[in-house]
Amino acid sequence: MTLDVLYFAWLRERIGAPKERVETAAATVRELVAELVALDDNHAAALSDLSAVRVAVDQELADLDHSLDGVREVAFFPPMTGG
């Protein structure tokens, strides 16, 4: 399965890119995170503290156990500060 993975704010900065295309067999967000963390130090640093990370799956907020079945886009970002 091919996924677009997006990063925002300080996660984008730590990863060093706003977006990457990932080939994965992960069934859930949590499994995807484990694969990303194994990629390199940047990914490991960005995704080390998941309590500070929020997830969107196909542009809807989701939790780590959300299924990736049929999903095209996953985003990781810090808690939002709009308004």
């Binding site: 925002f8 969107a56 809807e60 907020l61 985003a75 808690p79 939002m80 500060t81 709009g82 308004g83």
Partner: protein
């Protein structure tokens, strides 16, 4: 319902022209870039194009249903916003004031913590820290459960 995400300045008066026909009560909230610290020149707002519009529309739709609003509007800017600039505005129109106030507060609480925007401070030397989410903002959501 009006939902807009844009870089450009917005004009509250023109956004509110003809807003909420038949309403007895119109409430607006406008967020402005504060320059409290003296060091800060501007805010840089990053957002998640696509998701931002979806999230704002969903929040506005929830408010509209919950309080039977006559109309609702939400405009949010992104990009570099100087101290004193308008960041965003919500407006609600209802028959009575209690509904219009409650819906506007609900919209603000949700936009703060559930719309994908991230603020960072820009000082004289360039980009500074990302603004951290406040636990009080997260707590504010629980009053609508």
């Amino acid at each position: 319902m009006l939902v807009r995400v844009q870089q450009e300045e917005f004009d509250p008066a023109s956004l509110l022209r003809g807003f909420g026909p038949g309403a007895g009560a119109v409430v607006t909230f406008t967020g402005v870039v504060r320059g409290d610290t003296g060091r800060m020149r501007a805010l840089e707002l990053e957002h998640y194009p696509g998701m931002t519009e979806r999230a704002m529309s969903a929040i506005a739709g929830q408010a509209q249903q919950r309080w039977n609003l006559i109309d609702v509007a939400a405009v949010h800017r992104f990009g570099r916003l100087e101290v004193g600039a308008q960041i965003m505005m919500v407006a609600t129109a209802a028959r009575h004031r209690a509904e219009a106030f409650a819906a506007a507060e609900f919209l603000m609480d949700y936009l703060k913590s559930r719309a994908p925007f991230w603020k960072r401070e820009i000082g004289a030397d360039g980009p500074g820290d990302w603004v951290e989410a406040k636990s009080s903002d997260e707590d504010a959501l629980s009053r609508w459960d």
